[in-house]
């Protein structure tokens, strides 16, 4: 298993701060989510951090135990 972490308004959309998912390619994983959530997670402004490091989304594959965080733009001052 791997884990998705939702920050900011993405948490509201997902209904929880975290969600366990099967390891595997990110594309497959997104295809298995609710369409509204999957669309929000794929927005260009949402950045990704894999195990605490910012990563590009293209070709990403989650391994067992990975934590993938979805980071919407941070709030203004």
């Amino acid at each position: 298993m791997a884990r998705l972490v939702f920050l900011g308004r993405l948490e509201d959309l997902a209904g929880a701060a975290e969600r366990p998912v099967a390891a595997g390619p990110l594309a497959d994983l997104l295809a298995g989510l609710e369409p509204a959530l999957a669309e929000a997670l794929q927005a260009r402004k949402v950045r990704l951090a894999l195990n605490g490091t910012l990563v590009e989304r293209d070709g990403l594959v989650l391994a067992e135990g990975d934590e993938l965080a979805f980071l919407p733009p941070v709030s203004g001052g």
């Binding site: 948490e11 951090a49 605490g52 910012l54 965080a69 941070v74 709030s75 203004g76 001052g77």
Partner: protein, 148 residues
Amino acid sequence: MAADVRLATEPFDPSAEIGTFARAHEAAGGVVSFLGQVRAGEGVEALELKHYEPLTLPGMRALAETTMARWPLAGLLILHRSGMMQPGEPIVLVCAAARHRRDAFAAADYAMDHLKSDSWFWKRERRGGAWHWIEPRAEDHADLARWG
């Protein structure tokens, strides 16, 4: 010397922090501090700041290093709350000590601009019983553009 960078999950006492910082940097001559607090009297009932452990504190530390490298500082404090806050409570405190006043002003100003726009905090407000996420602001990008 290293900067003092902290992420506080409980309320902190800004005047005590400033006092401790100023006494630790008596040789510096000038101490500039910025205190941001939850605005009272504007209908905000509560403010919540969420952070993401693996990024938030490391990001604040990186900002502190960049700031220390850019100006000749005697000391730098970056202290940020996360969690739930009431109106009037402190959110963020930045203190910069320097031999020259201008360096202390610039460093505190720079650190605040980048904290507001680059640091990994997501903020929501409760108004009329309902929570609302706070979006990024165009003004923050204008603030950043000042530093080239």
